[in-house]
Amino acid sequence: MSSQTTGRSEKANPSAGSSTAVLETERHERQQSAAVEEDRDTLLKLLKQMVLIRRFEEKCAESYSLGKIGGFCHLYIGQEAVGVGAISAIRQDDYVVTSYREHGQAIAKGISANAIMAELYGKAGGCSHGKGGSMHLFDKDVNFLGGHAIVGGQIPLATGLAFAAKYQETDKVALCFFGEAAVNQGAFHESLNMAQLWKLPCIYICENNQYGMGTSLARAMSLQNVAEKAYAYEMTSEFVDGMDVLAMRQATQRAVKRAREESQPTLLEARTYRYMGHSMSDPGNYRTRAEIEKYQERDPIKIFTASLKEQNIISDQDISNFEAQVKEEVDGAVRFAEESPEPDPSELYTDIYSNPLA
C-alpha cells in the first residue's frame, strides 16, 4: 500500500534510503489488487498513453539531435506513470499546471501530439503558436495551463487556480506537478501554507526523480521525504510509487475526492526516475549506468504491461496493434510539425498586451 498521512496524525513515510525496496513491495501489492478494479478500456488507455509519451519523447530526442527542435528540451522518459496516472483521475475541466518537463503531461491532458510537436518545432501550428517552445506548452481548451520554466514558479499559479475554482463556486480542482528540487524553493512552502490555510482544492504532485539537474536529493535536501513536509502545514500527504500508473491514479483519485468534496489540498510525493539527462544537453556524468539500469528494471511501462498480460487483460496482439497506432501518431506529429508554417514575422509583436492601448 502507498502510505497515507493526514497532517501530523500519522507518520508512515519510508525513509529515503530504503525507498527502492519499499517501492518494490508497495507496487506489487497495489497493482495486484488494483488492476481488477478498473475496466479494460481504462487499463488499455493508461498503457497506450504511456507508450505514446515514451515514443513521442524518443522522437523528440531524435529531432533534437537533427536540429529540428531548439533550445532546452527536457524529456519525460521513465516518469510516464506519474503524469498519466494522475491526470487520468481528473476531468477535462480541471486544471493542470506544471514545469518545463511537460510534454507527457500535455499529452495526457489531451493536447494533440501534432500541436505539441509543432510547438517544439517552433511552428505556427504549435499549441502556443510557436512562441512558447518545449517549456511553455498551453492549451486553454483542455485546461492545460503551461509549462513554466522557473523552478517552482507554477506552484503559486496552481494555488491561484484552486482559489479561483473555490471563489467561482465550481467543483474544479487544480493539479500541480513539480520536481523535488522545486520543494527547496520558497514558492512551494508559501503555496502549501496558503492552500491549507484557505482550504483550496489543489493537488500538489512532487515528481521526485531524485536529481535536480545534476544534484542528487541527498546533496540538496535536509529532510528527503517530501511527503513529510506536508506535516508543517497540517496537509494530508501520500507517498506514492511513481513507477506504478495505477498507484498514481488511485492516490490522485483520493486526493481529488478530498479536493472536490471537502475542498482540501493534498501533497503527493511520487518517487520516480528519469532515464535521460536533465535536458538534451546533459551527459549525465553524475550517476552511473548501473543506477539507471536498476530503475529500468522497474520501468513503468514494462511492469504495467507484464501485470496486464499476467492477468490476461491484454495480449501480445493488442500490444503490437497499439504500438503501430502510436508509431503512426508520432510519425504523423512530425509530418504535421514539418509542414506547419513558421509564425508570421508580425507575430513578434502580437499578444504582448491583450489591450495594447496604442
Partner: protein, 326 residues
C-alpha cells in the same frame, strides 16, 4: 466633485470596482481586518466580506503568484503590496508569470491583474523602505505601469487599471496619501491608461514630472512664471505605455526639456524619456535635455541626508534656469 485625499479617492475606486464586478477581489497583507496599513482599504471588508477582501500571510511571492493563477481562471485580482519595496520578493511572479503569460501561451491566457501599493520615498524609513521601483517594472513588455499625482487621477486611473485586461503595476506615492484634491464622484469616471496630461500650459520649457514630483514641478513653474519663464508641466501618468507624443509635441513647442523624478538616475525612466526626446526632437532642442533625479545612493535615515537625497522645488527651478541659460 468632492474634495478628498488621495487615500480616500483610491478607496472609492476600489469600492466602486468591487461593487461593479464580482470577479474583482482584493488580497494583501492587512487589507481586511486591520483596514489597510495605510487605510486605503478602510471599510472594504465590512462592505464586501472576507471572500472578496482577503488578509494574507506575509508571503509576497506566494500571493502574487496566487493572483496570477486566479487571473488565468478568469478572476480580476487586485494584489496589494503593503509597500512596493516588498514586491521585490514577488518579482518572479510579476515578471516571469504575469508579464509573459499572454505572449508565451500564444495569446491564450490574458492576466487582468492589478499590483498596487505605495512606493517611492517615505519619511525616514531608510534604504529598504524608501525607493522608487518603476523603472524595474516599466522595463518589461507585458506590464503596464501607472503612477498618479492627484486624487482625481488616482481614482480614475485605478478604475481603468482594474478594468484593464493586462497586468498593471499601480504605484501610489506614500507621501501623497494625505494630499487633497477635487475628485469626480461619478461611478463611470475613469481616466484612460497611456494618456499623459498637460498639468500646466507654457511656452518656454517643458517639465516632465510624475508622482511626487508633479506638485513640486507645478510650484517651480509658478515661481519661474514670475521670473518670466513660462513652463509647461506634463505628467505622463502611465509610464508604460508611455505617451511620448504629448511630451515630444510639447518639447517641439518649448525647445527645452527638464525631466524630474525621485528615482535613481541610472537606467531610470528619465533616461528613457531623455533618449526618446533626443531621437524624436533633437533638432528642436535649444539646450541639452536635463534630468533632475534622486541621488545615486541608497536612501539614508538621517533627516538632513534624506532631504538631500530627494529632488524638489530648488533643483527643478535651477534646472529650468540652466536649460534656459539664465
Amino acid at each position: 466633485m468632492a474634495v478628498m485625499t488621495m487615500r480616500d479617492a483610491l478607496n472609492q475606486a476600489l469600492k466602486e470596482e468591487l461593487a461593479r464586478d464580482q470577479s474583482v477581489f482584493l488580497m494583501g497583507e492587512e487589507v481586511a481586518e486591520y483596514q489597510g496599513a495605510y487605510k486605503v482599504t478602510r471599510g472594504l471588508l465590512e462592505e464586501f466580506g472576507p471572500k472578496r477582501v482577503i488578509d494574507t500571510p506575509i508571503t509576497e511571492l506566494g500571493f502574487a503568484g496566487l493572483g496570477v493563477g486566479a487571473a488565468m481562471a478568469g478572476l480580476r485580482p487586485i494584489i496589494e503590496f503593503m509597500t512596493f519595496n516588498f514586491s521585490i520578493l514577488a518579482t518572479d511572479q510579476i515578471i516571469n508569470s504575469a508579464a509573459k503569460m499572454l505572449y508565451m501561451s500564444g495569446g491564450q491566457f490574458k492576466i487582468p491583474i492589478v499590483f498596487r501599493g505605495p512606493g517611492g520615498s517615505a519619511y525616514q524609513v531608510s534604504s529598504q523602505h524608501s525607493q522608487a521601483l518603476e523603472s524595474w517594472f516599466a522595463y518589461f513588455p507585458g506590464l503596464k505601469v501607472v503612477m498618479p499625482s492627484t486624487p482625481a487621477d488616482a481614482k480614475g486611473l485605478l478604475k481603468s487599471a482594474i478594468r484593464d485586461d493586462d497586468p498593471v503595476i499601480f504605484i501610489e506615492q506614500e507621501r501623497m496619501y494625505g494630499m487633497k484634491g477635487e475628485v469626480p464622484e461619478d461611478e463611470d469616471f475613469t481616466i484612460p491608461l497611456g494618456v499623459a496630461e498637460v498639468k500646466r500650459e507654457g511656452t518656454d520649457a517643458t517639465i516632465i514630472a510624475r508622482s511626487l514630483m508633479v506638485p513640486a514641478a507645478l510650484k517651480a513653474a509658478e515661481t519661474l512664471e514670475a521670473e518670466g519663464v513660462s513652463c509647461e508641466v506634463i505628467d505622463p501618468r502611465t509610464i508604460r505605455p508611455l505617451d511620448i507624443n504629448t511630451i515630444v509635441e510639447s518639447v517641439k513647442k518649448t525647445n527645452r526639456a527638464v525631466i524630474v523624478e525621485e528615482s535613481h538616475p541610472f537606467c531610470g525612466v528619465g533616461a528613457e524619456i531623455s533618449a526618446e526626446i533626443n531621437e524624436r526632437a533633437f533638432d528642436y532642442l535649444d539646450a541639452p535635455v536635463k534630468r533632475v533625479s534622486g541621488v545615486d545612493a541608497p536612501m539614508p535615515y538621517a533627516k538632513n541626508l534624506e532631504r538631500l537625497a530627494i529632488p524638489g522645488f530648488d533643483q527643478i527651478v535651477a534646472a529650468v534656469r540652466e536649460v534656459s541659460y539664465l
